[in-house]
Amino acid sequence: MELSAEYLREKLQRDLEAEHVEVEDTTPNRCASSFRVLVVSAKFEGKPLLQRHRLVNTCLAEELLHIHAFEQKTLTPEQWTREQQK
């Protein structure tokens, strides 16, 4: 399976209706087996962290089988705005 940061980004953006997604390949040699993602979506509003992460995990369920390490940050648009002002 071909995994790339760009592929993951597009999928997250589409399925979670995200307004902003960052995906970083954190594999030391960029062999696309570990990733860090930031997802900003209105779908996260009113949901605790665990539910947000579950949404992301569900979206990438198939891909996660091939990913060795996965870090995620899930923000609502409002939280994202605040984060940027810091």
Partner: protein
């Protein structure tokens, strides 16, 4: 350990149909045959202690950065009395716990028998103060509170 023989036997019996893949359709939930990866066994395991973690490696020697982060966060809060299970010792446990919580990665943290999350969530709970509150509910006073008090009184 009294259960280890039984566990080894169960692992042998189940060899070949566990682990690999990980994709599981509805209704094929990690079997109920009583091995170390069975949901009954895991249910008992996560409820046995107030704080339970599943790691790659041990608290003394974590084998992965994320597991290490969980250990360090608990250490910061002065949580010493917790049960840690090394999934690298047991492939059945490794897959079983993922199925049990429907969570794809290790480490996994359980408070009062309830799945809390992995490394990212514990870290954010640590940063936003939720972890102190959650520990309080379990009757565990976070060491960070005492540290803060020391600083305040100086």
């Amino acid at each position: 350990m009294s259960g280890s023989l039984g566990r080894a036997a169960a692992a042998l019996l189940r060899w070949g149909r566990g682990a690999g893949g990980g994709l599981r359709g509805p209704g094929v939930r990690a079997s109920s045959s009583g091995g170390s990866g069975s949901s009954e066994h895991l249910d008992a395991l996560v409820k046995k202690n107030r704080v339970v973690v599943f790691l790659k490696g041990t608290p003394e020697q974590p084998q992965c950065g994320f597991s290490n982060a969980v250990v360090q966060i608990l250490r910061l809060h002065g949580v010493r009395d917790y049960a840690a299970y090394n999934v690298l010792d047991d492939p059945q446990l490794r897959q079983g716990i993922k199925d049990y919580s429907n969570w794809p990665t290790i480490p996994q943290v359980y408070l009062n028998g309830e799945f809390v999350g992995g490394c990212d969530i514990l870290l954010q709970m640590h940063q936003n103060g939720d972890l102190v509150e959650e520990l309080k509910k379990l009757g565990i006073r976070s060491a960070l509170l005492d540290e803060k008090k020391d600083q305040d009184s100086k």
